[in-house]
Symmetry: C2
Subunit: 220 residues, 2 copies
DNA sequence: CATAATGTACGAACTGGTTAGTTTGTCAAC
DNA sequence: GTTGACAAACTAACCAGTTCGTACATTATG
């Protein structure tokens, strides 16, 4: 946690035989991949260590134990995704357009961050017990609600959205459509014998998700 | 696989010191619970055995290995849930009412079968590879589409639904809303600091899901 | 009696975690 | 500017408990 670094010329930071920051990041990145792929119990510390430029000892040196490493990987996933969400800007757009963009963006964003989706799935399998233990993630997600809430409010003022809806619920619905699309692709495609992961199908599902949300909030 | 049973008076089938059918079912039920709770890699054969009236030896006797047991548990989950879906009857209802009932039923059904939801989540973490290996499940789910397809067709004929929609996509949307509600409850509630599992919240979300689907298919 | 069903005990491989020690960087004192 | 002391970064080998699976023996059933 000591981010206080003395004067330090960082030319060639990776060439140094000792590179704590790089090692930590390398371990975290590798662990994130492995946990997302195999789950908490499925991932193997030895396997993670082997895929790292570093060693198993270093994992314990920096992260304490397996659960500590998993927690950091989870936080890492949330942070990465939330940061990416800042890329969305709907200011100045009419509410309908803004909401459309929000849904499209969420749909694409989830689609592009399968690793994150898998981490959330895994965390839900664990009843969210590690998320609860994290004081990093809590504050990270309030802005997500703020954004959709402000769009909704604007839409009501414009008279294009019906009043009385709950922004959190709205967020829930958008999330449901976009999350499920990634999380359940495997079983859904297999059971109904139709690959919904193709660009064609995805474009259609995306369009439907947008329509669904817009029709839901539309003023009569 | 030998379901061929000779003439067999089944008075007191559980009192007999040897009860193959009962043992098998007992193991399967226990394993289903454990796998749904801990995942494939998280579940422990010894733990399953201990919770069984039987022994570890019997697990291997009947199911071969851990993966074999998991596969049967997965099939068992799908079978149970699909059988439960037969409880829905929308014949004779107007299309709008029928669809409303279908969504409500799906919502409640998923809500009541968390173990099934968890098994599907777990299976998706495994990219649906075990589902693929199963020849039992494939045929099981076609009826689900038939039902919603026939309701939709009726609605179009009645002039209350707009034409051109894809029943499979419709099923996808209903599933998304109802599945996510159970699968992501833990993380969603924790992140936004509001328990969406209470009867009150659930009633609201259910109502919204219905509205969302109905508004989506409604003729203009 | 042949076969199906079950109980007991065990082992080989794996896995999370540690012990014990080495190397590298920093910086103050000489 | 060399040295020496100390902390941070890192390595290799190892350990103890776990976990899946099995060998072998025994009992029930038809």
């Amino acid at each position: 946690m000591s981010q206080v670094k003395p004067v330090r010329k960082d030319r060639e930071p990776s060439k140094r035989p000792q590179d704590p920051d790089g090692t930590r990041k390398d371990i975290l990145a590798t662990a994130s991949r492995e946990f997302a792929l195999n789950g908490l119990s499925g991932a193997r510390i030895d396997e993670i260590a082997a895929r790292t430029k570093s060693s198993k000892r270093m994992i314990y040196y920096y992260f304490g134990d397996k659960e500590g490493l998993y927690l950091r990987a989870l936080e890492n996933a949330y942070r990465t995704v939330r940061e990416g969400e800042d890329g969305l800007d709907t200011d100045g757009l009419p509410a309908v357009e803004a909401l459309r963009r929000l849904v499209e963006f969420t749909f694409d964003h989830h689609h592009e961050h399968e690793e994150f989706i898998r981490m959330v799935m895994i965390e839900n399998i664990h009843h969210g017990q590690y998320l609860e233990r994290s004081d990093v993630i809590s504050g990270l997600n309030e802005t997500a609600i703020d954004h959709i809430a402000s769009i909704y409010r604007r839409g009501v003022e414009e008279g294009v959205f019906r009043p009385g809806l709950d922004p959190l619920e709205l967020h829930w619905q958008v999330s449901a459509l976009c999350f499920f699309n990634v999380s359940n692709r495997a079983t859904f495609s297999r059971i109904f014998g139709r690959d919904i992961g193709t660009p064609d199908e995805q474009a259609r599902l995306r369009q439907s998700a947008v329509e669904m949300v817009l029709r839901f909030v539309a003023a009569d």
